[in-house]
Symmetry: C2
Subunit: 825 residues, 2 copies
């Protein structure tokens, strides 16, 4: 090929170049280029190329999106500032702008890809668990998520960028994988794709906050159950590259002089905090733990409340954009700066708020002195009538429910950043209180080090976001965001305390959404649930297992396929011994059955029949033998085409694929008319006789024993012992990403456990601890706003969930309504 | 119990207190105390109590050890400084002191616990893999490690504290577990102990460097293959607490004013580095990668060289302390400050060296100006004759081989810190070069920011230590050590590049030691070894599997037990079907056999016999029946006692437990004499007859079919399919910590794969890539210095390895010498 290409190139060039010297130069160049191309092509398959591309693309996306969001926010400020002559006009501008943006975001998301709404981390967690949610990784979703997120964040509502960015990065990785598979074959590997998705999650966080290490750790904590250390480097590599490009773009754009942190702080290095301040940090941690649990609870409560109010629900279902618009109107009205917004620094954007919180100067020093005014951001916290403490408290309370409410909107949005800001506000409040309490600093001997309330804000931000997401790595994210690590011990202590409190009260926000959306995810075992060791597999397994035996006939296969819609069937030696030999996929069974009753075999049978008949006919009437043979052939062809249409359409997991074959009696009878009208010499009797022969043949074939040799059997399906503890079962299911496991006793199949039974058992035992969330109803966001469309996210998820539960294992039929779910738990 | 205690307390108190009021107060107090005690006792079992205790103890150990090391180093300085009148005396003092300390350390370690020598991380990696190396977690080892490490580090040799600290923390956790098990039962749980050990590793790094996050990540990267995210918090919690206490102790000891980083840097925050400096950082990363690989290679080369030189070897074996003493002498002589040491800053300790490297001032500004002299540490780098660059180069080269040599000494020591210092020196060298090249800084527009060579030193330290240990988390450790995170992107880039280079050239230092010591560890699959997907289990499995069937007789059992020394035996349905039903433990089989030929059954048989005989006797001679009965009982008792001594001694996995039973013919014949001498009325004929009857009975019993019901079978031993890829097999073995897995084909047992086959396959396939290390010989340290003792570490490990390989699965006998190993690979 190389030679050909070169020759071809040489030919082309030789036409234009007459000079021999330049001719040879060009040829050399072409050879080099071809070599380079081949080399590059061979390297395209390597991981690092993929990771670099992913990092590059995501950094660009993040940068461009940030740029657009900043523009949108600036436009609002500009409008608000330009209309300062008339307060009503100002109010209208202030309110209309976000309402329009959010409505557009919700509408666009809904029309293009309803899956793009929400955070995306719960879905990624489910996908990385091994469940295929294909709709979530398409180009449409990518577009919807990017555009929707930009508009949503541009509206100024308390929404975050982190969760959606994890989803966007994963989408990007999935699309890149598809794109790269044009070049090489390894991109087909399933487990490799999962590894790449895990790396992509790290990239998402990394390029959102320019926090590579925190990104990797956060994505591990949030999405994985077991983490393969050998994939560690992928995340680090991609996230570092992405964060690097993201920050370099800022430098090139002259936003920054060099690469620094996103929310750079300037706390003093020599004496960051006094040892005696630690109790205050611990208090922040514990309070944040309770606050985080409350946030998760509130968020879920809002979703459930909107679901339960049937009248509101019905009304909102008709006008799907009304709910987002109303919520936005409410939040915007309350934060209107000349109105109530003056008591909660309404004019500041999220970023400005954070910068003001992380400021290393005290706001209350000597009771609001002149050095309070120099910064425009901090000035927002000064109010002639109200104390700074009052304003902070109002800010925290208002933002708390606003954030919980805003994150239920059906737009792409995350909860991390709003929570982060609230946490920073709480930390600042404690810090300012401490500064007011100890105006001279705490340390009594030697130099006076005043208290730095900004440090408290950093601690609070890490603690509250850690509590809501149940992660420790928010500490690392905070270090990378602020560019300072001097508060490491207070932050770690506060984050750990917050986690301890929050984890004992509520699930994380992502687990909560998983339950609300009923994603097929296995819940975590809590900390130190020792009763898990006492529940055995035999207590939870399903004993009525569908199986086939070595002596099964095709009819048994057929029945198995008709009854359950299971994904795999157990193969046992015999119904008496019940020794488990392996499992076989449904698709395999179906293919086997189809093949046994296949076109070829029918053809063969009919040809044999025809031969026999021809012989008979030739004996009876020799002259018409050729004509008769033609007719038979025609009929045979017809018969075949019927069979083809009913059997070959490749729907391997369609629930009732054999119905057409069984209804053949009626369809075949109808079809009889057609050949008779086509063929002039009608031998209806012969035809019917032949047809009954075919049926007879089929019955006979179905009664035959299944032929082993062409089967693809999984000879080692995962087996458990009846006395395996729930804890161990959970570990094994999580480790291996299992869907179901057979329970055996000395080789005998006695039951089966699927993800569903396990989930129930775990949630059942969690109720005892009071950790259990109410069996979650489908999110209001989903059904409330998209009831008129059959393509809504809720139904999508329900379908997925149904398919998931149904594919696992046959069990007693139970309707998949939320009510029955509620009962069963 | 509570009531009783209270009553008892009340009684005691009522004697002393006559006043009714004080009496009731006291009673209340006692009740409260008892309640508290009960509450505490019930809480002792919880994880966090354990983790707090662990953190506390380790922080204390680390602090005290640091204190002692500092004292020891100060003593050397004081001696050296006091003898400045005479250079020869000074030299003697300078050299003798470390020689004595290292010799003592080596001797003490050898006598108390030879397992304490070396880093300990490789052993912990093996233990966390699931292999039991019990000798490594005893109190003796703890003492030897702590004392030996203190002396070794006090000598001033380039040795590190990190690796041994991981081991010490694990020892501490193991001992605490034992101690705590007095209070509650959960400390018995195997998997829980492993989780605790993993947390302990994090604590070890955390309290060594006061780096909780880096500690957790480093310990994960270094010791784990798959990490359960749900155990994450344990590590963070314990490491944070430990680091906190460690730094608080320093504050209380008035070493520090407040909690800060260990090697605090003071780089400027606004403009940490220029974008154009990044290529220099990348160069540091790549060079560090090569340097790290070279270090690992050099370290292994030294060990192998000392092993191969038979003459040196023999001489050194006799004088076990000679090798450490000679090495110490060499290193001390070369670093003698008035001698060659003046060209390599010999008078600085490791800590002082690091502080001088991380200094944020340039050494070469305007060619050694006056502001170079203000710091005593930096002054060491100034030499009247030599350039600072020359001195740095000499330092790097000398320290490089010195560290590689010193870490082969048989004392508790790690390689992390020496490598860290060398990396810092290299970074400083590059930084100083850059500063000399661009004296005005690189940035052309606006303010001039001079180059900070200290930042380069930080980058170099992280990169080289990352390359040697194959970890990315050294970056995080560096942030926590220096208390600054502003150089995050250069550090991440350099560390990732260094890792990429080093991992493609050499294994990590820990993997290298694992191979040298031949620890039973499964090697990692490298990056992107796609050929792993092509090797199948059927290529590597052992086809000759020992098994028992459902129809097996006790004789078969007996033979199986005699032939192989396997740990578990496969149970198949029959020799024809070969359907795998499960596996059964060797101990179970043995117990089963013992029970079948047990005392009770023998007794019963003999009693039956006796009854029969008695009847016979009573028919023949009625008066002597009672006497005969007595005698028979006596004999029976004797027979039983023999059986007891040969069967009951609980050595369940002793290789040939049934020998006594088979040799019974001879032993029994010998034993016949004894009863005859004891019993006056000798009926030798009767006895012999009865004895033969017993033998006959035994033979008959052995031919009986095994009775199923009392078996404890593992009905689901791990199974693989013959077409499972090596990659998947490796993953499954690592995930589940398997020792062996059966290979089945449609339920039929066709082979078995153990850790050993897998290891061979992976190492074999690694040769292709050139990554493979020569099959490592036993460490010189082990056999060279401990040849005269049978209790040496090398033999211990060999035994372990032998047992490990032998317990897995029966296979063709192969001698476990290193030569055959070399051949087989």
């Amino acid at each position: 090929i190389l030679h050909c290409k070169v020759e071809h190139a040489i030919k082309i060039y030789s036409i234009y170049t007459l000079n021999a010297c330049s001719w040879s130069c060009c040829a050399l160049f072409v050879v080099c280029a071809v070599h380079c191309q081949r080399f590059l092509m061979s390297r395209v398959g390597e991981d690092w190329i993929f990771l670099i591309l992913l990092g590059l693309v995501m950094a660009l996306v993040s940068f461009v999106m940030d740029f657009c969001i900043a523009l949108l926010l600036q436009a609002q400020k500009w409008m608000y500032g330009g209309l300062d002559s008339n307060v009503i006009l100002q109010y209208l501008a202030w309110v209309t702008y976000p309402v329009v943006l959010i409505s557009f975001s919700a509408g666009f998301t809904h029309i293009v890809a309803p899956q793009a709404a929400g955070s995306g981390i719960p879905e990624m967690k489910t996908i990385l668990r091994g469940v295929v949610l294909k709709e979530y990784l398409t180009l449409k979703t990518f577009v919807a998520k990017v555009v929707g997120l930009t508009c949503a964040l541009g509206s100024g509502l308390p929404l975050g960028k982190e969760g959606p960015f994890v989803h966007i990065a994963s989408l990007c990785a999935a699309l890149l994988c598809k794109f790269m598979s044009f070049f090489g074959g390894i991109y087909e590997n399933e487990s490799r794709n999962i590894e790449m998705l895990a790396a992509a999650c790290a990239v998402g966080v990394g390029c959102c906050f320019a926090a590579p290490i925190g990104g990797v750790l956060f994505s591990i904590e949030v999405t994985s159950t077991f983490f393969a250390v050998r994939n560690y480097w992928r995340g680090f590599f991609a996230a570092t590259f992405s964060a690097f490009i993201f920050r370099v773009l800022a430098v090139w754009n002259r936003d920054e002089e060099t690469i620094t942190a996103l929310f750079k702080t300037r706390f003093r290095l020599d004496f960051p905090f006094d040892l005696q301040e630690l109790p205050a940090f611990a208090v922040i941690g514990i309070a944040s733990g309770f606050g985080g649990a409350l946030f998760v609870y509130l968020n879920r409560l809002i979703v459930q409340f909107m679901r339960k109010q049937k009248t509101i629900n019905k009304f909102l279902m008709k006008k799907r954009l009304l709910y987002p618009a109303l919520v936005t109107l409410l939040i915007s009205t309350l934060s209107f700066p000349p109105g109530f917004g003056q008591f909660m620094a309404g004019q500041l954007t999220q970023k400005e708020t954070l910068v003001s919180f992380f400021d290393n100067r005290t706001w209350t020093k000597q009771g609001m002195t002149e050095d309070f005014n120099y910064d425009s951001h901090s000035a927002a916290w000064k109010h002639p009538q109200a104390n700074v403490f009052v304003i902070l408290v109002i800010f925290i309370v208002m933002k708390f429910w606003m954030s919980a409410l805003a994150t239920t909107l059906p737009v792409p949005c995350g909860a991390f950043m709003p929570v982060f800001v609230i946490g920073a506000a709480f930390g600042r409040l404690v810090g300012e209180s401490m500064a007011a309490w100890f105006p001279e600093g705490i340390n009594t001997d030697g130099i006076i080090y005043p208290i730095v309330p900004g440090g408290y804000a950093v601690v609070g931000a890490a603690a509250l976001s850690g509590a809501v997401t149940h992660t420790v790595s928010t500490a690392v994210i905070v270090f990378e965001l602020t560019g300072q690590i001097s508060h490491i011990l207070p932050i770690m202590i506060a984050v750990i305390l917050a986690n301890a409190v929050a984890q004992s009260l509520q699930p994380s926000i992502y687990d909560s959404i998983i339950r609300i959306k009923k994603l097929p995810y296995l819940p975590e075992l809590g900390w130190g649930h020792h009763e898990k060791y006492n529940i055995r597999v035999e207590d939870i397994m399903v004993r009525d297992v569908r199986y086939i035996t070595l002596n099964s006939t095709y009819r048994d296969l057929h029945e198995i396929l008709l009854i359950g819609n299971l994904k795999t069937v157990a193969l046992v030696e015999s119904a008496e011994s019940m020794i488990l030999l392996g499992s076989i996929e449904r698709a395999q069974l179906q293919a086997l059955l189809t093949q046994h009753l296949s076109r070829e075999r029918r053809l063969e049978f009919i040809r044999d029949r025809a031969d026999a008949e021809r012989k008979r006919v030739s004996v009876v009437s020799t002259p018409s033998s050729e004509e008769g043979g033609q007719k038979v052939n025609h009929e045979v062809r017809f018969q075949i085409s019927t069979e083809e249409s009913s059997f070959t359409p490749a729907r391997p997991i369609s629930p009732k694929p054999l119905k057409p074959a069984l209804k053949r009696t009626s369809t075949a009878e109808k079809n009889i008319e057609i050949p008779t009208s086509n063929i002039t010499h009608t031998h209806t009797f012969t035809y019917l006789w032949k047809h009954f022969k075919i049926e007879e043949w089929e019955e006979q074939q179905l009664d035959e024993q299944v032929n082993f040799n062409s089967w693809k059997i999984d000879p080692a399906p995962f087996q458990l012992v009846e006395r395996t503890s729930l804890h161990k079962t959970h570990t094994i299911f999580s480790l291996l990403g299992l869907d179901h496991a057979y329970v055996t006793s000395i080789g005998r199949l006695i039951g089966v456990v699927s993800l569903r039974e396990l989930r129930k058992a775990i949630e059942g035992s969690m109720t005892v601890k009071g950790v259990k969330v109410r069996p979650p109803l489908a999110s209001f966001r989903d059904s409330g706003t998209s009831g008129t469309s059959s393509e809504s996210e809720a139904t999508e998820l329900h379908k997925l969930w149904d398919r998931h539960t149904s594919i696992s294992i046959p069990r007693e039929h139970q309707p998949n309504t939320s009510d029955s779910d509620e009962k069963s738990q």
